[in-house]
């Protein structure tokens, strides 16, 4: 499915994202496995709650990090995350 600003991503049902102080990172946990996320991946993924659409996630990130023009990065990441089945999109 093509990802647009209207897409609503949600962390997949077999996955859980959580902050791990020992690794100083967000990690994505799934059956017998784990991915350590870099900062931007972690910040995007934790906002994939099934309520916010991509536009809202971008706006939230831009406010939080006082940045601009994050839309393309967010869309690219959500595309990747969907391929990996980390998120389901509607």
């Amino acid at each position: 499915m093509a990802i647009t600003t209207a897409t609503v991503p949600k962390v997949g049902r077999n996955f859980r994202i959580q902050w791990e102080p020992a690794q100083d990172a967000y990690v994505l946990l799934y059956p017998e496995g784990m991915v350590k996320l870099n900062q931007s991946a972690g910040e995007i993924l934790k906002r994939c709650d099934g309520a916010a659409n991509v536009a809202a996630i971008v706006a939230d990130l831009e406010t939080t990090f006082n940045a601009q023009g994050l839309e393309a990065d967010v869309i690219a990441f959500v595309e990747l995350a969907e391929q990996q089945k980390w998120v389901d999109v509607t």
């Binding site: 077999n14 102080p21 690794q23 946990l29 799934y30 017998e32 784990m34």
Partner: protein, 385 residues
């Protein structure tokens, strides 16, 4: 599954990272009698199992160090009446909790309680696809029970993760195994060839498949992938006896894995207690922090400093850390030797001899009766592997 090791493989080797993966072997007791069981051959000699409170202590201390993936295995972990309580504590502490079970003992009431306790995932093991083979290889009548377990797992919204240990006696049934996996809607299927430890080492000649069998099974698995796409994720693991380089065992000794045995020994991997001359700490008397960072048992084979030739001057030593210490001990009689799976090992011929024998169907070693894992057999054999 291997994803974890890949995800964390890029680590600073100079610094000891946390024990990210905690394997809690809750009991060696098991209603099954698998001929390839990975438990120590002399398991029946071990005594008191850890209590609920002692498991809580392990979970808490490991979590404080950074453990985050937690597997509950055995034996058959369902045989612990306090499994639900232990899972609940692990969940409360923030672990991702995995149950590795044969499905025997799983019923509506218990799976409901486990879900309630926060269990994240169940891996169900099958011995083979047909009732006869399953029951023959595990020496029980469990097949129907497993099918029911699979239905319950799905009904409770868990991803269906199926594991089937592959060897000479079931590898030719690979289509049927894949069909069964598809019938129970498996999302992940691990077709892992037997690795030769514990009881599988006892039955090695009877279990090692021929090259032809392996190639056929791998081909069929690939064809299945092409035909059915990614709906079911298939992992096919070849026996390392057919390789020329060893596996990066446990992703490195004392690197990310911490196993706690039913009787409270802390090990860098679940078979390490066979190694001679190494004292492994007991969680009743040591903290997980002392165990992980300070104990001789965990430090002895960490990194590459302990290596001998051919490993010590080998350009590939960071790739595999010299392979498996247990295999080195079992086959080269020296836990600090190169894993004999490596063709640079002076003992590699001891691997190829076994592989060569496996190409001759029906040879004397193969037709010896299989020895089923059980307490009586364990006491009779009275040896670690």
């Amino acid at each position: 599954m291997t994803d974890l090791s890949e995800a964390v493989a890029v680590q600073d080797t100079a610094k000891i990272g946390p024990p990210l993966w905690l394997l809690a072997e809750l009991t060696y007791r098991c209603p099954l009698h698998c001929v390839y069981c990975y438990n120590p051959v002399d398991f029946a000699k071990t005594e008191d199992e850890l209590t609920t409170e002692q498991w809580f202590k392990v979970l808490r201390e490991a979590r404080e160090l950074g453990s985050v993936q937690c597997g509950f295995s055995g034996g058959e972990p369902m045989l612990r009446d306090d499994l639900e309580v232990i899972v609940a504590e692990a969940h409360r502490l923030g672990y991702y909790t995995n149950l590795l079970t044969s499905g025997v003992g799983l019923n509506e009431k218990r799976i409901g309680a486990l879900k309630e306790a926060g269990l994240d995932h169940i891996q169900l093991s099958f011995q083979d696809s047909t009732r006869e083979m399953n029951d023959f290889l595990s020496s029980t009548r469990t097949f129907d029970l497993k099918r029911r377990a699979a239905d319950m797992i799905k009904a409770h919204g868990y991803p269906m993760v199926m594991n089937c240990t592959i060897h000479r006696h079931n590898i030719d049934h690979i289509e049927a195994i894949l069909q069964l996996a598809s019938d129970i809607d498996a999302e992940y299927v691990e077709l892992a060839n037997t690795q030769y430890y514990g009881w599988a080492q006892v039955n090695r000649d009877q279990l090692l498949p021929s090259r032809e069998q392996l190639e056929r099974a791998e081909r069929i698995t690939n064809e299945w992938r092409e035909k059915h796409g990614n709906k079911m994720k298939l992992f096919f693991v070849v026996p390392d006896y057919y390789e020329k380089r060893p596996k990066k065992c446990m992703n490195g000794w004392g690197n990310i894995f911490l196993t706690i045995t039913p009787d409270g020994k802390a090990l860098p991997c679940h078979t390490a207690r066979m190694l001679p001359g190494l004292e492994f700490p007991d969680v009743r008397t040591s903290s997980v922090r002392e165990i992980w960072y300070e104990s001789e048992g965990f430090n002895r084979y960490r990194g590459t400093g302990w290596m001998k030739e051919p490993c010590s001057s080998c350009p590939e030593k960071e790739n595999d850390y010299g392979g498996c210490r247990c295999q080195a001990y079992m086959i080269a009689n020296d836990p600090a030797a190169a894993d004999p799976v490596c063709d640079k090992s002076p003992f590699h011929n001891r691997i190829t001899e076994v592989v060569d024998r496996a190409q001759i169907a029906g040879n004397a070693a193969q037709v010896k009766p299989l020895i089923y894992r059980g307490p009586k057999e364990s006491l009779q054999l009275d040896r670690p592997f």
